[in-house]
Symmetry: T
Subunit: 157 residues, 12 copies
């Protein structure tokens, strides 16, 4: 079965845009898993505050994952968000195992957000010509992640 979903994009536009979206899907799934991992393993004086803020990050990451994946389907590209794909292709920095202090968690989140944002910034540029509709979605994801990046970075400032 080939190309059951069609699009008005040219093959090239579809390829470039599809890669940008697939990369975004993988990064965001990983970000949500890292944030959940942190949500469970954080300890320290600011436990409650960090624990709650992490779930806001999870919610954002999950909603954008769905939007990016469904944008891929809309241009005829089947997204891949399976565990092994995420483990192999994610551009996030990751997180260690076991109990982790709240201060370390804040730094880990800042680093992971920075890595994902940087990749999103280059995808915003890459999709401007081939598909402004996709670009618009990537801009709104970037906007929200940069807002979260500020909020987490403010804690180590």
């Amino acid at each position: 079965m080939s190309a059951p979903i069609t699009s008005t994009l040219s093959d090239d536009e579809q390829r470039v845009t599809g890669e940008a979206l697939q990369g975004t899907v993988v990064d965001l799934i990983d970000l949500s898993l890292i944030a959940k991992q942190a949500h469970w393993n954080v300890i320290g004086k600011n436990f409650r505050s960090v624990h709650l803020a992490l779930d806001e990050l999870v919610t954002a990451a999950r909603e954008f994952t769905d939007e990016a994946a469904e944008r891929a389907t809309a241009i005829g590209v089947p997204p891949d968000g399976r565990a092994s794909t995420v483990a192999g292709q994610s551009g996030a920095k990751g997180i260690g195992e076991g109990w982790t202090s709240d201060e370390d968690i804040v730094n880990i989140v800042v680093e992971n957000l920075a890595a994902v944002i940087e990749r999103l910034r280059s995808r915003v540029k890459a999709t401007e010509e081939p598909d402004p509709v996709t670009q618009d979605l990537l801009i709104s994801i970037t906007a929200r992640l940069e807002q979260l990046h500020w909020m987490w970075q403010a804690q180590v400032a």
Copy 2:
């Protein structure tokens, strides 16, 4: 830093219960990723019905993941739900990549649910003695997954 979170369980009770919960966390995260993958890649006459039902499965899997992981923390065991851990340890059957017919999706979901349920059933038995509180949680997860298993199997009956 060792054992920052204490519990009334003996070391042995904690070990057995912790393994049951860690295994459940991994299986459920994988189940949620598989269901999302199916949610995006399903095609066919029953697309809409299957697409919607998969999100109910995702919701259930995510909520139980959180409950199982936080039960692990409550008995002093740090849960591990990172992408690579899930990719390496999950007991679910998995799903292939690319567009997939609704009929195939139904079969894939039934198989994955069956595999996860079977492991849960053995964990219900394993935790009865060491920690009835954890057993109670595993029973309620099993109950809901068996209900979903019926609903998906009913579609191939």
Copy 3:
């Protein structure tokens, strides 16, 4: 068509558990019909209070009916909740026809609840071994009906 829905239970476990659930479905449907009958036919000084309390009982009975019936399907046993089955197999005490005083209604409800609770208690014991998942459901039904039994009995105390 035979056994379209499969289960991890052995034949024996399935038979015992299925009978417990089928009996519960029938008792609860009857209880909901009796409570509605009372809801419409009650008269007397405490009309309003009794009228309202009966609808809480109806709601509880209906929700548990659905849970018990869908638990039966989940273990591969098709439930039977048809009018004639209920009329023939219910273990509830029933209610007479026509206008009935609020005092009589309270006694009728207490008796019917007591009869249904007693049968549930024995099913809780019967399902402990074959299916702790079903037992857990029967325990929660019993808990709620015993709470309602207290509330109704308190009115004749």
Copy 4:
């Protein structure tokens, strides 16, 4: 205790209207039990769609049952909605036991709705003179059941 609830209707008007309402109560309770039975026992490709649509039918049948029964009380006639009364007097067509294919379920629902609607149509005529208030209720029940009848029949068209 005789006639505790009075009405402005003459004895004859009360008798005709009371019979129409009692018949409606019985038919609608049976319809709700049949729909629940179908809700639990349906299997097949369209399981989810049919399963959900049946609960809308249950909701409609239950709400109208209550309105019809309380209209009976309002004109001084005590309604009878007990299991044995329903089993003995219902004008619905009924449903068999056990797992049933989605296609059969659709046909069973269409037939049962058609039978109940036909009886309602004759009651709309019968109550026009004796009690236009009751007629108005029966008209609104008929309107909704005919809408549902179309929706179910559309599936076999």
Copy 5:
């Protein structure tokens, strides 16, 4: 300024329908004031139950007052719901002043409802020919008041 609001009704139809609606407006305002008076002055064992039920009556009376008055405007007849008009033209039975026992309150409500319902019944007949749209409204008011009449009468049964 004469007849600023026009209608498709003939002068005669307008006059008959307008009188039916004006009478209904007055009766319902009085009913709401009587019910509030009772709501404040009731004492006795069933205080709470009666106190709450009276506010349901107030709510019903107020909503129907608005519907009847706005139906009058819709057919070009300005409604009159001023205190002196209500005091002078109401067909309700009224209520005495000061603290009143719950048993007396129940009887007072039953009598007032009966008086208002009887007048509504004759207006339902009177408006059938001139304006079925208004008749339909009066039927729904009658239906609700007769339901409330049953509920209050049931308390003295």
Copy 6:
């Protein structure tokens, strides 16, 4: 494919009722498009008030369109609400193009409502015998449109 949806109405009853409903569907769609057109093009001191009131009219027209169209399907008549059908068969008065003063808008709405109400009144009479269920729906549409007619006419009074 012929007559996939059946009805208890005779051919003649179905024809008369079907025409009444089809005419109502067309009139109401046109009314909703006219009201939206006015909603966007109104200017003048009362802009805000008129702008908001027009959306209430749109909401009413849309809901009744759906009820009328689905009543047609329920009696086995397929409704036709396509743009060209509406443009060709509507009984509404219409509206000019471009910016329009609030005073003119009020007059335009009053005229359009009056035209639609007059046609509804004759359909209420026409359907009384063949189908009282449909008549009941047309009565409730008339009631609401006459209420809106008063509210708009009150602004020019």
Copy 7:
């Protein structure tokens, strides 16, 4: 039956406070009836705006009526809010019958509010000594009515 409800107030305090509350109850009921009368009979360019604002006034008047009346009961004084009492004792200015222009309505509302506020101001003073609890309620009623007075007066400014 005398004085079934007791209070910590002296006889004199109770009398003065009771009169202030009874007067307030009567004024507010009349205000709500006047506002409803205006709500139905207003015509003119500002119909919609005035029509809506009048219902806010009705809501305020009704809620304060209930609070004032229940404060009277709380100090052992049975309130009297019957139509004839309102017609005989109200200190509001009243309203004429029939269609009334929006400009006249605004003036009528301003006058009625001014009259009621003036009486409330003197009751605030009268109750300061005997019962500060009642005074506090009267102050909050005055605050809201003075706010509404400004809003209505602003329309004639």
Copy 8:
């Protein structure tokens, strides 16, 4: 650590106001425990009505406890609401142990409310000069408790 929270009140004003608030906190906690005790142990014909009304009392007592305690903190006085403090200092009348008839419960509630209200009345006077802000809070607590006192006393009238 001394006086970490400052206030604009003089030492004397702070002492008087602080005592009034501390006494109120203790009385209200005891009132909430008494009402819960009654909520569980009441039996008799009016069980349901009394059972529900007691929870409204609990809710009121709990909310006012929090407001009084946080007002104490706002003026720099640390409140004390521990079980032994409540047991030792409460001015409420208390309640016996075990099942208690609904009639006795009503009397117990009336007596406890009366005792608490009397103490509140004297605190309203005591705080007028030192802190009108605190007085305003005590007035609103008194107003609500006197309303509840009427509602409970009305049941024994």
Copy 9:
């Protein structure tokens, strides 16, 4: 009356942007009428699923119609959404009359969406220079319609 609403756009920018928005308004109104037509006339096994999905399409089309039309007003161009304009200028493919199978409906929706999306894509390009604010709106409409296009196309894949 000419140009009562002003804009910062040049005449040329206004003309190009206005045409893009007017074309979008017409296409979307037609899409909503086509989807409603399909909603009523669809028959077949997937009736329920298709019937529900069509109302999601109607909702989307109506909301975007309003946004596009109000964007036109914001740049000083009066939109035209009258039935005859829609019938004459729409770029959608349309739909036939009478009962239509669910499979045909799916194809009809896919074709109509494709036609509307193609026109939107060219308007996104056309408005980039003259008015990026309007372009942003057209991009979000395109994004949603392309998502719906995928969902409908997935059903024929």
Copy 10:
């Protein structure tokens, strides 16, 4: 008056279960009072976070108190939750008076939770044989308190 509420438990089962529930009621009331005391008296950098978290603990303790007390009534044992009983029988560790630093509060909460959990664990064992329905409730209380114990302990880790 003896044993007005009956149960299916034997005298011995009732005694053991009743003691477990009565002890739980007392511990949980004390826990809620301690948490409120801490909520008001906490000071320090983490004031806001701790202040908010304490109210979640209060909510949990209050809800479980009610469930445990009503479970006691359901098995025929009248619960005792009066201030003096709580002061005398509680197994919680208690809290000192006056302003307390956030760090001390966290330790106090951890200790009190640990003490209450330990007693609950032994009651879970004690009730397994005599009443699995009560055991199920105690398990769910334990599960939630152990979750809270982790969250508070994490702050000192």
Copy 11:
């Protein structure tokens, strides 16, 4: 145009009360701008907690601003809340520009609240005679700001 809004206050009462309200409006607007400034510029470990608490302060300040300003209009005094007026007349302490540590922010908020509260306290006294209605509003503003003052001061205790 002079004095379009009238009041029952004497000129002197109006002047004193008007000044108190105008001063309050200015202080509260400034407080809301200071809190927003802090909300954006705070950095440090407690960022999230402080960031959130500041928005609660903004909400309180904005709501009280509106109430104070509308109370001024109600007594015939036009309030002035323009930026330059606020910049020139505010009694708050203000805040510096740029990133600010969380500890500094807490101190800044405590100081600003203290300054505004002190001015409110004197206005409460000043308005007691001329207008108790306004005094009541100022008391409730003071109560809430003193509660917030405690909460912020508790963080530096």
Copy 12:
């Protein structure tokens, strides 16, 4: 302390974007204060309509202020929204003091919106290259303000 919040923008991009956002924050705060000033001081026949519409403008201005200020923080630029900054740097036209007629208010709002929109338009252009994420936010602010500009201008058309 310098640059605690980092960004992926170059210094130049950060400076240009930061200035655009700071200017927007100031303009929007001023707009919200002007709209509130108008909300309180408007008088005239259209008082209510204008009064309500002004609060919609306040809500929009406040929400966009927050988004713009938090976008500034996200790119590492601390926003300045203090009263003196707003008074000194705002590009809005301002509003006079004292009671103002509704007609004047409409003109004042139109002028202020026009001034703010013009500045936003140039910022949309200025940020296109340095930061498309910020540009996207400025576009959505412009879109909403231009919609409001139309609505206010329509009132003077």
